[in-house]
């Protein structure tokens, strides 16, 4: 029996990384990236073991519910409903004992980079013509940028702003839902639950194994880069360094194929015949069915309202 104190999970995310040393070259960045990855994996593991609302649901019900919400969100064009869905994800993160601030940061961390670049130009009348909201500058007639001709006046349009906000909030709501899913579900259970949406057993096993070996390969890479860092006095020429990275990638590739042979033999010697069996350790309770049904009907209702079929 494992004593209780050993089962306790340190729920607060920790900073594992201790790689602050001056200017970072490609070596430092790689090592940082790997530590960042490990930290993120660790953090989501700790949240998935907390005692919250979403953690207590059956993984299959949760997967289906979150997928229903995401698919519904991708079909909604009404800003108020999108904001409602986004607020709903915040509420669920709170009920699942994920600090809401951490959750918001986690979601918005990578939204600005992509969605922002796309959404920002949308507000100008160059892309979406509409009613002027705020004039920016006057170019005069015949202005053009490369092959594109520009309008005489450039201004921010209300339609453009509206479209940009809808676009960004939709991305935010979808990303929040996925983040909720993986923050509240332990990986191996999440993979197993993919069976419910029709992923064949053999790929569920492949996913599980791939996930495990990612950590092994990450460790291999970290060791190579740290070994290089430890032995480097002065950086060599760019091409030499690039050659080194290429070689290490090739080595990792050969190692992983080689390892797959060994893993295969080890599996065979333990009775693996190519047929995949997966342990079923799920228990659906009535509340899981209720949660799934609620999420699906919520999705349907929101889509119907957004398309004007239902009126509130």
């Amino acid at each position: 029996m494992i004593p209780d104190w050993m089962k306790d999970v340190d729920a607060s995310p920790c900073k594992c990384s201790a790689t602050r040393h001056g200017k970072k070259g490609f070596v430092g960045k790689t090592i940082d990236g790997i530590f960042g990855f490990l930290e993120e994996a660790f953090v989501s593991e700790t949240y998935s073991k907390k005692n919250g609302l979403l953690q207590s649901l059956d993984a299959r019900a949760k997967l289906v519910s979150i997928l229903a919400v995401i698919f519904a969100t991708s079909m909604i064009g009404d800003l108020r409903i999108l904001i409602f869905v986004y607020l709903l994800t915040l509420l669920f993160s709170f009920l699942s004992q994920i600090p809401v601030l951490f959750f918001i940061k986690r979601v918005w961390l990578f939204i600005p980079v992509f969605a922002g670049i796309i959404a920002l130009p949308m507000i100008f009348n160059i892309f979406i013509p509409g009613d002027p909201l705020l004039p920016v500058l006057t170019l005069g007639p015949g202005a053009h940028l490369g092959p594109f001709s520009l309008p005489e006046d450039i201004y921010i349009t209300s339609q453009g702003v509206n479209a940009a906000i809808i676009f960004t909030v939709r991305v935010a709501a979808c990303v929040s839902a996925v983040v909720l899913l993986f923050l509240t579900t332990p990986q191996q259970i999440l993979f197993k639950s993919l069976r419910t949406v029709g992923v064949p057993k053999i790929y569920v096993l492949t996913l599980e194994m791939a996930y495990r070996y990612i950590f092994l390969l990450m460790d291999l890479i970290r060791e190579m880069y740290i070994a290089k860092k430890a032995r480097t006095i002065r950086a060599r020429g760019m091409l030499e360094e690039q050659k080194w990275v290429g070689g290490r990638m090739g080595y990792t590739l050969i190692r992983s194929i080689d390892m797959s042979e060994k893993v295969h033999m080890a599996m065979m010697s333990r009775g693996f015949s190519g047929e995949v069996k997966i342990m079923q350790e799920f228990k659906m309770q009535s509340r899981d069915y209720a949660a799934g049904a609620m999420a699906i009907s919520l999705g349907v209702v929101l889509v119907l309202i957004s398309h004007g079929v239902l009126r509130v």
Binding site: F127, V178, F182, T206, L253
Partner: protein
């Protein structure tokens, strides 16, 4: 190039799912007869490699760093069909574990990076290297061109998927609901970015990895395995 949720409208992503499901099914069937019990460990390790290849930072001119996508070298080494599954698994992992790439867009992402990239790379590599010696430098060049062209093609497909959004989805007033830019913006933007930037890095990395494999262990290459199998079959029929 990972498309997040909310960029593509339902028509596009559902169409991509309909395209991808038979491709996955066929690739799975083909691999299970070719690899049998080896399938799971090989694909799992290959998927793990496809995942970690993005962790390798490569120094690029200007003191900055970048990373490769890796679809090309995986296509060349494992063969295009195994690459489809391996890269798809890696993409699903990224979407589910880190929110990198959307759930609705999984099929679109897999099509661009797990189907277009390895297939273009493998056949370009085969066409250019022709019947040269396995250690010839022509094969290194072939792999570089394969890396460059495959990434650019994948980018063009991504640009096309973005560009058809305003045509398919807009409100009654013509305000777009998803990706707002039309084809004449998205396709040139994606292609230019990859022809001059990321494509060159991908070419360099593909060539460097290929050159390393040439020097150390060429038996892992898919093309070589196929050739060896054909030879052994021929000699068996002669005997």
């Amino acid at each position: 190039m990972h498309i997040p949720d909310g960029y593509l409208g339902p028509y596009t992503y559902i169409a991509m799912w309909i395209i991808m499901i038979p491709i996955w099914y066929y690739a799975g069937k083909k691999l299970s007869t070719e690899l049998r019990s080896k399938q799971v460990p090989l694909l799992a390790l290959a998927a793990a490699f496809s995942f970690v290849i993005m962790m390798f930072n490569v120094p690029i001119p200007g003191g900055s760093t970048g990373h490769a996508v890796g679809g090309a070298i995986i296509g060349i080494v494992l063969g295009p069909w195994a690459a489809i599954i391996a890269i798809s698994v890696a993409l699903v992992l990224q979407a589910l574990m880190f929110g990198d790439g959307g759930i609705t867009a999984i099929a679109a992402n897999c099509f661009n990076m797990a189907v277009v990239m390895p297939f273009v790379a493998y056949y370009v590599y085969r066409a250019i290297s022709a019947n040269t010696e396995i250690t010839s430098s022509r094969r290194v060049i072939a792999s570089a061109v394969a890396g460059w062209l495959s990434l650019t093609t994948a980018a063009a497909f991504t640009g096309f998927e973005f560009g058809i959004q305003p045509l398919l989805h807009h409100t009654a007033e013509g305000v777009p609901l998803y990706m707002p830019y039309s084809l004449n913006v998205t396709v040139p933007a994606m292609i230019l970015e990859h022809v001059l930037g990321f494509g060159i890095l991908e070419a360099l990395v593909t060539a460097l990895i290929f050159a390393y494999i040439q020097r150390t262990d060429t038996t892992i290459l898919y093309g070589e395995k196929i050739a060896a199998q054909k030879k052994s079959k021929k000699s068996a029929t002669i005997a």
